[in-house]
Symmetry: C2
Subunit: 504 residues, 2 copies
């Protein structure tokens, strides 16, 4: 046999969630094996019996990969866990077996639990290319998943990752399906229900396409990248934490899918419900409140679709043994004043401090959500949750609890102040605010630099129903860098996101 082994080399290129391998064009195997760029190959190391799948790029520069070497990008090199210089063999990777199920889905067939499990396991071990993942997601989105398929998918996702157990009868969580800027209710709900004594170990995401996730905003106040010891300490002493969930191994497939969903801006109901419910069950939650905002620029735009989604959440939640409630909320405009980590953290602290400038809509929504969660406690009478939540907030006990949590997580030494570059966007005519475009405002705040620049974002001065005079400021753009500032200003000049009805 002419086939020889290649020497493994780490190539310092970050290809994110895609495994890329590099082979020199003069490598003997390149020609004899008929490899082509973008082929999928399987890399095997006999030394420790591991193997990994990667997409091939062909290299003409020996400073990147020499003819006798096989280069691996950072991600796949770390997965492979074999040292540089080790002897590896390469072969054509056959398509993952479960791709046949994906083709059946594309043809409109209904898949079984075993199909979803096989697909998710193959994705988790990086056997799917980005193209194959896109085919899977789009196939599911277009053909649709019936509710039993969503349940199969949920179970499959749960079985693919690790699972936490808290050994408590009541572990609560909340989740908003997203799309509403400034919607930082978790940072209010967690201290309120933890102060009541409920266990609420809250992990949150960082923003991907939005101007801030709860983890980004919490990070303004405290460390969110916490090790298991600190998490355990927080649960024992505070009954809660507000941590970043990113490094957990609870939902390995989700992390991979998102790399494809993000550029596609795709969110199909089946994938969304399965992803949320499986992640919450994996995190050990027993009781879950789902927030579905409705509005013309929210993810869900009609009562009919919200009801369909609610039923799907209920069916899957019940079947998974979760106590799940759905609340449908007003998603016509951003919640609170600030959009962007620092501005949102300011709003949250003002609500906790019962500050006169606290945004009332954020306060009200947080109390409603907290009230519903408090009623998961059998000792709380139906209908009494809201009042109980309000008492905890108004008495200052919620603020104290938040301060304890911040101290226990490690208070940030970050001095929070909104971005130094400021631009006021003014009303072009007098009238009443009729509508505010969530997507456009999120985009403006994102262009201004949020969430990477925590100080960047948008601070709203007017909400729906308010009247404005001509040239009265609608909102202020905050940024730290000129380039971002100019991008955000330009976007607001094209479309300032506000619709104003002139008063007759």
């Amino acid at each position: 046999m002419e086939i020889t082994t290649l020497k493994l080399r780490r190539v310092a290129i970050d290809t994110y969630k895609e495994n890329v391998a590099y082979l020199h064009r003069d490598c003997e195997l390149y020609r004899s094996e008929g490899f082509q760029a973008l082929n999928k190959i399987e890399v095997n190391c006999d030394e420790n019996g591991t193997s990994v799948i990667a997409v091939l790029n062909i290299v003409d520069d020996i400073s990147i990969t020499r003819p006798e070497e096989l280069g691996l990008s950072e991600q796949v090199f770390h997965q492979f866990a074999v040292s540089e210089g080790s002897a590896v063999r390469v072969a054509h990777a056959s398509a993952p077996k479960s791709i046949k199920a994906v083709h059946r889905k594309i043809r409109g067939e209904r898949l079984q639990f075993e199909d979803y499990l096989a697909i998710n396991k193959d994705i988790a071990r990086n056997s799917y290319s980005k193209i194959e993942i896109a085919a899977y997601l789009v196939g599911c989105a277009v053909s649709g998943l019936d509710r039993d398929e969503v349940l199969y998918l949920t179970r499959a996702m749960l079985q693919t990752g690790e699972q936490l157990h808290w050994d408590e009868p009541l572990v609560v969580d909340k989740h908003c399906i997203g799309g509403i800027p400034g919607n930082r209710t978790s940072m209010l709900v967690v201290p309120i229900v933890a102060e009541h004594g409920m266990l609420m170990p809250k992990t949150s995401s960082r923003a991907i396409t939005s101007p801030a996730g709860t983890a980004d905003t919490m990070e303004v106040l405290a460390n969110v990248d916490l090790n298991p010891e600190i998490l355990h300490h927080l649960v024992t002493h505070e009954r809660a934490f507000l941590a970043w969930g990113g490094t957990s191994k609870l939902a390995p497939v989700d992390d991979i899918l998102i790399a494809v969903e993000r550029p596609l801006t795709m969110d199909s109901p089946g994938q969304m419900v399965a992803s949320i419910v499986s992640k919450k069950v994996a995190a050990g939650s027993t009781h879950l409140l789902i927030d579905i905002p409705i509005g013309p620029t929210a993810k869900i735009r009609s009562q009919t679709n919200a009801m369909k989604l609610r039923k799907l959440f209920e069916y899957v939640g019940d079947s998974m043994g979760l106590t799940l409630e759905v609340i449908i909320t007003d998603g016509r405009q951003p919640i609170g004043h600030g959009i962007g980590p620092v501005l949102e953290a300011r709003d949250v602290m003002r609500v906790l401090e019962n500050h006169p400038l606290a945004p009332l809509d954020l306060r009200e929504k947080a109390l409603q959500l907290a009230g519903r969660i408090l009623e998961f406690d059998t000792d709380v009478r139906g209908g009494q949750g809201y009042r109980l939540a309000r008492d905890i907030l108004e008495s200052g006990r919620a603020l104290q609890k938040m301060q304890s949590i911040i101290q226990a997580q490690g208070a940030s030494d970050y001095t929070a102040r909104p971005g130094k570059l400021q631009h006021q966007v003014a009303a072009q005519a007098a009238g009443r605010i009729e509508a505010i475009d969530n997507l456009q405002l999120a985009q403006i705040a994102h262009l201004a630099g949020a969430p990477l620049d925590k100080e960047a974002g948008v601070d709203l001065h007017k909400k729906i129903g308010d009247t404005v005079d001509k040239d009265e400021p609608l909102y202020t753009i905050h940024a730290e860098f000129n380039a971002d500032f100019n991008f955000a200003k330009q976007a607001s000049e094209t479309d300032n996101a506000y619709q104003i009805a002139t008063l007759s």
Copy 2:
């Protein structure tokens, strides 16, 4: 403004049809702009006003890209046509505008001509990532295209590329939808109809996943990579050529789509019909014969589906002003004896030479197709085409014409002989051949090295209906390299592709 320009650098990595840009992690722009790996960026050169879209990889090695540089992979560097060291600016690339139409298709909507035109133009200028292309293709495959959408898509594809004009009333072509190994009828049809005096400027593809395309097989005999002057000479003096169409600018989008279709092994009827018809119209054809083989391992497996596809071809062809005929043929097994460039070229030449070992099925099919094309000539009576084709072949005039074409294209100095490593696959029991698996035989020939090794492939000794004794050879595997030889042998041991019914 903090934003500065970067120095362009060519990175010698072949990323095939995907544009990849490399930025060092310490590049000032990386942090301030909030770039992430797999983001799409737009690279602009003020010097000559060009811009290009690429997917970002982050680099930690200055030997690949330095912090003050922007690296571009081979493909995108060549597209960009700006010299190394030029000053370039980078910015976040917004999603191509036409992606909204893709999302409408995914939601099941019908798209208009303007939508397909916008999508194809954006794909042609490399604004779509592989993920976005996959979403488009899968969306079309699952939602389906009605026949007017296929027509819109055909027109859009035609408008996206260049177009040839021959200034003749009758320019003929044929196209087989593929999937049948050994089906090299074009190399017989072209000399027959050109000898009759018809203009048949035939461009063909190289094999992608199959063991040989017509261009691969013709290359055994003659040069197929021809410049416009030679093509013009051939048209004038021979009325035909058999060239590789790969470098033409007639179908730029097709070349890009195939990089995604290939790993997905996807072929939706709408995309297929639009791609074929637009390419033929772009090549200046006025009359087109489409060959649809049916068989259990062909692309089309039922008469119903073949009829549907025929109607679709007819509707689109008529609407585009083509004279289009469809012929439905027997696709139950490979055509001819050889599979792989050298073996197929041998079969073709034997038919032309009226050699006693010429495969009768290849000869018969070629005569039928040529006969139908000859009847596009108004001077040929309906039903007389076949006899006319047979006369041209049997008289040796087709062979002479082929030899003239070969000389004019530049005869190959390649000494054709089948691969030196040979292995006979024998029948495990006596009986009659019931079925032959096209896909498995194509796979075995491909593993043996075809089409990269022109000598590699499979030579069939038995076809459907033949009787065999136990241990009688069914076919011979030919290869040039041991590794390929062993892969092919292993595949034939797992499944030899023959189904034999024992005789009672």
